[in-house]
């Protein structure tokens, strides 16, 4: 699984960081940054949570 982030949709809410600290961070303007675009399997549930709560639908999980 690969994580995709559409940074120009991001509204800097930080919800993804709350859901998956090891996968997302925010820059100084609050825009999300991907720390890992192919996260370890044990982080998948957290990433799915982040996809679900992101208010901008800016995060996607794609099967490879």
């Amino acid at each position: 699984m690969k994580v995709e982030l559409e940074a120009d949709k991001c509204v800097a809410s930080g919800q993804c960081v709350l859901a998956a600290m090891d996968v997302f961070d925010q820059d100084d303007d609050g825009i999300a940054i991907l720390l890992a675009d192919e996260p370890a399997v044990e982080l998948l549930d957290d990433v799915k949570e982040a996809v679900a709560v992101c208010p901008a639908a800016a995060i996607r999980l794609v099967e490879q």
């Binding site: 925010q26 303007d29 709560v53 208010p55």
Partner: protein
């Protein structure tokens, strides 16, 4: 449970449907929405869409593939018209009836209107496209209501070269929501740019030429946008036996009755973190509550109270406003970081002896995060605001 119906095909309804599948529910899942469009996002309507930066296609909440993967019985363009609680059926406008074992109500809100014809409102894609077509340079736009929605639209219209008048019935915009001082700071940003903000004026009617005020004055306009709050879409539940009172009334598990849950803008539930009943019109809450309702519907015996720290943001000109917690009904506001004068600050909100909210403008996210945690941890006001720098009290 083999048949679940979700009514309302937007942020909350979609989050509920996705969560049901993620949690392993593999029965029939019907998603009903009265709009003919696949679930889309609303916040960009008063921002990028109104500014003509984004076309509506960008608002789709999920790709067609992701939607298809949910294996939904998708009923778009048809409204739910009735609910039979005892018989467990939802009635649709096309005359069909949907039996259910579990139901999630996520029908959102609609804009309040004013007497008279011809005013714009801003809730759906069609509304935003109709308004943006009119926002050409030099046109006179009157926005009634200087809440977050009206203020965002005013800011965009100003940027597009319109002559903008913003009318607000309260003496200070947003005072009930964020406090008078913060309200002043945000509205100063409008005045500085030449937006004509008039407070303490009541609009009684929309006319062909503009709007009529309570004292008889006519404020001329080419276009009028009414942004004076919203009404929960609960009419279809009349006579069902569900308790409705400014929203579908739920307990702390988001349950409105056995097997019936509500989520998003339409839901009024008891938030145990703040010990109060609330109904929240924030984008993040719609998703979080949709998820919570879905989980509790599937496992009522292991139900988890829905106790979020509410979050919202708003974009106005070059300012990003972010707020965590429950600011309404606060007793005191204090600036705890930065300063209001240069519009870079964190303001903390006290209700009783607790820290119940923070609002930040122009601050990096890391500066806000610890405040959010303090709210989630029910921090006492005294502990939360004790810093080396003395705080400035503003109300």
């Amino acid at each position: 449970m083999r048949r679940i119906v979700v009514v309302g095909a937007s942020a909350a309804g979609l989050a509920a449907a996705e969560t049901l599948r993620r949690e392993g529910y593999d029965g029939t899942l019907t998603l009903v929405g009265d709009e003919p469009l696949a679930p889309y996002d609303r916040p960009p309507l008063s921002k990028q869409v109104l500014a003509a930066e984004w076309e509506p296609e960008r608002l789709a909440l999920r790709t067609a593939d992701a939607l298809a993967a949910l294996n939904l019985d998708l009923r778009l363009g048809v409204a739910a018209t009735g609910l039979e609680l005892t018989g467990r059926t939802v009635e649709l406008a096309d005359g069909s009836a949907l039996p259910y074992d579990g139901l999630i109500v996520a029908t959102g809100v609609r804009p309040r209107r004013l007497p008279g014809e011809g005013a714009h409102v801003l809730r759906g894609i069609g509304d935003a496209l109709a308004l943006r077509e009119r926002l050409t340079p030099g046109r006179r736009l009157v926005v009634v209501g200087a809440g977050f929605l009206g203020a965002e639209a005013a800011a965009v219209a100003w940027r597009l070269g319109c002559e903008v008048t913003l009318l607000e019935p309260a003496p200070v915009p947003l005072a009930h929501a964020v406090g008078a001082e913060v309200g002043e700071i945000l509205t100063r940003a409008h005045r500085e740019r030449g937006v004509n903000l008039r407070c303490g004026v009541a609009v009684t009617e929309v006319t062909e030429d503009g709007v009529r005020l309570a004292d008889g004055e006519l404020v001329d306009a080419d276009e009028v946008l009414v942004a004076v709050g919203s009404l929960p879409n609960t009419e279809w539940l009349a006579g069902s036996g569900l308790t409705v009172g400014d929203g579908v009334v739920c307990d702390e598990y988001c349950a409105a009755a056995q097997g019936v849950y509500a989520a998003g803008d339409v839901a009024r539930w008891h938030n145990p973190l703040f010990g109060t009943s609330m109904r929240i019109e924030h984008r993040t809450n719609a998703a979080e509550q949709g998820m919570a309702a879905a989980r509790n519907l599937l496992a009522p015996d292991a139900g988890r109270p829905f106790a979020p720290v509410p979050y919202f943001w708003s974009d106005q000109y070059d300012m990003k406003v972010q707020a965590y917690g429950y600011l309404r009904g606060h007793d005191e506001v204090a600036v705890v970081e930065g300063g209001m004068a240069d519009r870079r600050f964190v303001a903390a909100y006290r209700t009783g002896d607790r820290l119940t909210g923070v609002l930040a403008v122009g601050m990096p996210p890391k500066a806000i995060r610890r405040w959010r945690q303090a709210i989630a941890g029910r921090a006492a006001w005294q502990d939360a605001v004790r810093t080396e720098v003395p705080v400035t009290e503003v109300s």
